[in-house]
Symmetry: C2
Subunit: 347 residues, 2 copies
DNA sequence: CAGAAATTGGTAATCGATTACCACACTCCC
DNA sequence: GGGAGTGTGGTAATCGATTACCAATTTCTG
């Protein structure tokens, strides 16, 4: 176990320097030696030790990534896209989950830094509590935030353009005839929660629809169900509900239907993310698709541009998403909440 | 950038040996020196270089994991569980996706070995094509297979007891009154596909139900939909369908309903995995829950037992799963395929 | 053909943490 | 007080790949 370059050199009858040079091709060696070395390497099954190389080169070819939870399909999709992007350049991914806890997050950041990752991609779990650890890490290694970000951004960020996203969602339900619209999202503990709510409010004002008081809980199916019950128990049912993510939307649709409200005939529902089960649910969810592959590519690209030594202004890249119209929203109509399915064929 | 133990030693006015000993506590030092060293380390913000430690110790504290795809929610869940288990012992996870391609898988195995991971957890993508690369890796480092495994197992494996799983599923639908049952799964390119089909056939024989010709495609929603259409187009509709995983089941339910077949009134449908959206779909899916957390714990435990130097017989750990009855199956009945919703309250 | 220039091989330093080994100081006991 | 025994600090080797530097040889040039 463990054939080293010394073994190869000895077997080929040359010095380690020649062996190294023959294998890496970074300096010329006589064809004769090149031949002997590569034959010896092949025979011994030599595989360079990446740890030793990393120590010497002061670079590991490894990128650390921290997301709140791998269970969340949205983060899974990002992880997959990032992993894919890194492979293109021969780098590997050290993956960690912070379990939505800033203390765990800080600890994981430390171990990734100790492992001397060449860069970090992180979706900070808490807009406030994550700040010190993230800024400290950003001082030591190129760091890019994805999706979520911390306050007082000293670090680069790439994510979705929430304003554009919510504008599309609101305009879509407005075009479907909605006059009263409710936003169901998460409590404002992270940047996504905040900017989606404010994006919604701006969009509602611009579209001239009546935005009722938002319902804020968590980014979970359970909260979606509860929010649905709250709407059923309230005195007015909105014409449309725009949700902070897909899980909420799915739960909400379920609860409304159980309560006898028809979706989309009585109420249109729009989700956010479009990862996995949005299309799988019944009825398939109208939602805003996050441009995950682009986000990952952009994050990896940015990572290559950051130079810790000479700080430049933090970049913020907001990628415009696209609304995917499926069957939880009335695509186009003139009437109010009492329209029949009549206009459906138009879209 | 890069405070080393030499810097700490110099600042504390001691040798590197003392500094190292003071910090690791592996040998006694005078309280005086311990104090000076830890103060110096704190002031300089010293953080040991894990790469150097790994080179010296010949162990990286890193486990490599390769799954066919992170997009598949079942694998995601396993990854999350493994990551969780590793954290308990202070180890980190190097994650790779093989994209269901044996050549990519082999390449990723190589880079993980070059990075000197302390162990490997893998779900080989192909029961035949994955064999050489996996066996070769197993010769060099402790390796445990999860869920899927390769033929002629020279390596440990932990997964679900497919026989027990399928027995529970078949007995459940039989108890619900089903006489004719169809299995819808994946083509037999990996071990799960094979053992689930054979488990189904054994269970059907034992339960005395009539197993029609299985429909084999892929582990995807799309194949589920197509299989549903095939059933609709065929001349006999079974009383129940047992599926190879949840995506297939969800697609199947959707297709059957679209075709006017009631689930579970006309046909019971049972899935496999119970990850994520099984509960989120409408109606919530009856399925066999994979004991993912236990599987991950067992895999990590086994990893600690493997000694590459003295090979012992390969372990195979099959964990018994549990059937989760939701609403795509008739829980109990005496009648055939024509029962009304009447008996529902019993469960 | 002498000497400069180019090419190529080898030796040893380097990356940073750990630790085997040695040296020194101190205690204890006869 | 001297020798054995114990505790503690320092020096330098180690892990494995890379490469700066030097030395030796070949090639080129006037």
């Amino acid at each position: 176990m463990g054939v080293t370059i010394h073994d190869v050199a000895r077997a080929a009858g040359v010095s380690v320097a020649s062996a190294s040079r023959a294998l890496s091709g970074r300096r010329k060696v006589t064809p004769e030696i090149a031949e002997r070395v590569s034959r010896a390497a092949a025979e011994l099954g030599y595989q360079p030790n990446a740890v030793a190389k990393a120590l010497r080169d002061r670079t590991t070819g490894t990128i650390g990534m921290i997301v709140p939870g791998i269970g969340n399909p949205f983060f899974t999709t990002i992880v997959e896209a990032v992993e894919h992007q890194l492979q293109e350049t021969g780098r590997d991914l050290l993956l960690c989950a912070s379990q939505y806890r800033p203390d765990v997050e800080a600890r994981r950041l430390e171990t990734l830094l100790a492992r001397r990752v060449d860069g970090l991609i992180i979706s900070p779990c808490d807009i406030e509590a994550s700040v010190p650890a993230v800024l400290n890490a950003a001082r030591r290694v190129p760091l890019v935030q994805v999706d979520r970000y911390i306050e007082g951004g000293g670090a680069d960020w790439v994510g979705v353009d929430d304003d554009s996203a919510l504008a599309q969602a609101v305009e879509h339900v407005a075009a479907g005839g909605a006059r009263v619209v409710t936003f169901v999202g998460s409590r404002l503990m992270n940047s996504s929660a905040r900017s989606r709510l404010s994006g919604f409010e701006r969009a509602a004002a611009r579209a001239g629809v009546n935005a009722t008081a938002p319902l804020l809980g968590e980014f979970t199916l359970e909260w979606g169900i509860e929010a649905g019950r709250l709407l059923l128990d309230g005195d007015t049912m909105p014409d449309a509900v725009v949700c902070g993510n897909d899980e909420i939307a799915v739960g909400l649709v379920r609860a409304l239907r159980t309560g006898g409200v028809r979706v989309p005939d009585d109420v249109s529902v729009v989700g956010f993310d479009d990862v996995g089960h949005a299309a799988m649910c019944d009825p398939p969810l109208t939602t805003v698709r996050q441009p995950v592959e682009e986000m990952a590519a952009e994050a990896v690209r940015l990572l290559g541009q950051v130079r810790v030594s000479d700080p430049r202004p933090a970049q913020r890249v907001a990628i415009a998403p696209r609304l995917v119209v499926r069957e939880t929203s009335r695509p186009v109509a003139a009437g109010g909440a009492n329209g029949m399915g009549k206009g459906r064929g138009t879209a």
